[in-house]
């Protein structure tokens, strides 16, 4: 009799009645995919139109005398200078000096800030105690501290790397803390009802839940690292993109100065792209990316 009841229940209730309501993918036809390819080309054209227009303006404005070509050489002249710097190896020297400093500082900062942030976030009293001072430090512009670092660590590599560490630490630290603290309490409740120990709860629920927030901090840190480093190199250095820019300006090699600026822009874009890619790999489960 119980089996009869079971089969009748199955008959009245289709096994997956609400399937497909929100099922996102449908089999797409060839026409569909061609249309999609066309749309991608159009999207690319729209996305690059503004950049092309900007570069065209840069090229034309000095040539027609809208601006003084001595102070703003046409884009093609800057490209020539860029190619020349690459050919002589000078560009590589400056880029590698900057990237080396930025990477060392960034890596040390991330390596320290993530574990510290996890620990602070997990122990609520500690977080409440430390958060105000961390906010204070974060909102103290790192560059304001450059003279302090130079005083203590000298004008060499140490002070620049220390400045990068300082600037990178706070975004990572604060975002890690908030990531740990804003884990959905229901997930914690559900996991503790399964009898997980605090350590395993942390490892299986808190840590993965905090990853997206930690990544926001990491991307902010990456942007900050380049920013403060270039500024530090402008103040005192023998190599690096910041040095290239100020030195070119002082020696009136204006195209080289712009080449250095373009190099910084490209470097920033590449760095961001790498981090976005990495972030996607780590948080493939999220709906919004």
């Amino acid at each position: 009799m119980s089996s009869a009841m079971v089969s009748s229940a199955v008959a009245t209730a289709p096994p997956t009645p609400d399937v497909g309501v929100e099922a996102p993918e449908q089999a797409h036809t060839e026409v569909d995919s061609r249309r999609r390819g066309f749309a991608a080309v159009r999207r690319f054209a729209v996305a690059s139109a503004a950049i092309v227009a900007f570069l065209a303006l840069w090229e034309i404005a000095p040539r027609v005398g809208l601006v003084d070509p001595v102070f703003l050489p046409p884009f093609s002249t800057v490209v020539d200078a860029f190619v020349e710097l690459v050919r002589t190896g000078a560009m590589w020297e400056h880029v590698s000096a900057s990237v080396f400093r930025a990477l060392i500082g960034f890596t040390i900062a991330v390596g320290i800030a993530i574990p510290t942030g996890l620990a602070i976030g997990w122990y609520k009293p500690v977080a409440n105690f430390l958060n105000p001072i961390l906010e204070l430090f974060r909102n103290t512009a790192a560059l304001a501290l450059l003279p302090v670092f130079v005083l203590i660590l000298g004008i060499g590599e140490e002070s620049k790397i220390a400045l990068v560490i300082y600037a990178c630490s706070f975004p990572v630290l604060l975002n890690t803390i908030s990531g740990v603290r804003t884990v959905d309490p229901l997930l914690i409740k559900s996991a503790s009802s399964l009898g997980f120990s605090p350590v395993r709860l942390f490892q299986k629920v808190v840590l993965p839940a905090a990853v997206p927030s930690i990544f926001v901090g990491i991307r902010m840190a990456a942007a900050a690292s380049i920013l403060v480093l270039i500024a530090a190199e402008m103040v005192g250095a023998k190599a690096g993109l910041g040095y290239l820019i100020t030195a070119s300006q002082l020696n009136f090699q204006i195209p080289n100065m712009y080449a250095g600026i373009v190099a910084i822009a490209i470097l920033g874009l590449i760095l961001n792209a790498i981090l976005v890619l990495f972030e996607r790999r780590l948080s493939r489960w999220r709906a919004t990316i």
């Binding site: 079971v6 289709p14 609400d18 409740k189 996991a191 948080s283 489960w285």
Partner: protein, 269 residues
């Protein structure tokens, strides 16, 4: 009832310290319910009847101020895999696929990987989600998410399944189909189920027995045995169904009024 109850809630009370007040707030008072092995018991009550408090006590996440809760004659002292909880908001881990969410409880149990995988597959099939194992929660509809949550709670084979308004966040059609699914799963697995709801229809449709709770503090007002023939079509319109529905409605109506009066009173103070 000659055999030992599966779950005994024995004169349980829970009081909390209230902020800015020296007297304690009594969430539930003197609640006594026995649930027989394999029984489907529904607790229905107005808002403020201490449903969530009772669930926390049953889950072992909190201790009662008075009384005891016994599972198979042994007192509950903490969380454990002998109870599976299904929450209204699913509580699925968004970074895990449906399959890995089901495996979550099995990891707590310490099962080897291959065994976890096999069981997850079985329970995906039980809840009608075979083939959806690799979907992430955001790729599933509300009803499918709740099926995953039910599968997760059943997979580690608890003694009782505790369900906290599990279908309250779903649309009416999905809710009805999941109610049928739940009854089928209950018959197939013969689990003891304690189901908490504020919906009278849901209580009558699902419960073998319905316990009506009072509001503030939560007490058991009455328990009703429900015997309706659920095999026919549109059971919810049958004479029997309407009879039970009205009876519970009458019992609850007074409580809802009383809850409102208390709310007004506390607001005026």
């Amino acid at each position: 009832m000659s055999e030992q109850p599966k779950l005994q809630i024995d004169h349980v009370a829970k009081r909390f310290a209230r902020r800015g007040s020296r007297d304690l707030f009594t969430a539930i008072e003197d609640v006594t319910i026995d649930v027989a092995p394999g029984e489907f018991l529904v607790l229905v009550g107005p808002s403020g009847c201490g449903k969530s408090t009772l669930l926390d006590l049953l889950g072992g996440l909190d201790r009662p101020s008075a009384g005891r809760i016994l599972l198979d004659g042994k007192e509950i002292t903490g969380p454990g895999l002998d109870r599976g909880i299904v929450f209204q908001q699913y509580a699925l881990l968004p970074w895990r696929t449906a399959r890995h969410n089901i495996e979550f409880g099995l990891e707590a149990k310490g099962l080897p990987r291959a065994e976890r995988r096999r069981r997850a597959e079985d329970y995906l099939e039980l809840v009608g989600l075979a083939g959806f194992g690799d979907r992430y929660p955001h790729e599933l509809s509300g009803g499918m998410k709740q099926r995953v949550a039910i599968a997760r709670s059943l997979a580690f084979d608890p003694e009782v399944l505790l369900m906290d308004e599990p279908f309250a966040a779903l649309d009416a059609q999905t809710r009805e189909s999941l109610q049928d699914e739940l009854l089928r799963i209950w018959r197939e697995t013969r689990k003891t189920i304690l189901f908490i709801t504020h919906g009278i229809d849901e209580a009558v449709y699902l419960g073998q027995r319905v316990a009506v709770l009072t509001s503030r503090p939560g007490r058991v007002k009455t328990t009703l045995d429900i015997s309706i023939d659920r095999s026919g079509e549109d059971v919810r319109s049958s004479e029997q169904f309407r009879h039970y529905r009205h009876e519970i409605w009458t019992l609850l109506h007074g409580e809802v009024e009383r809850a409102r009066a208390i709310e007004r009173e506390t607001a005026n103070v």
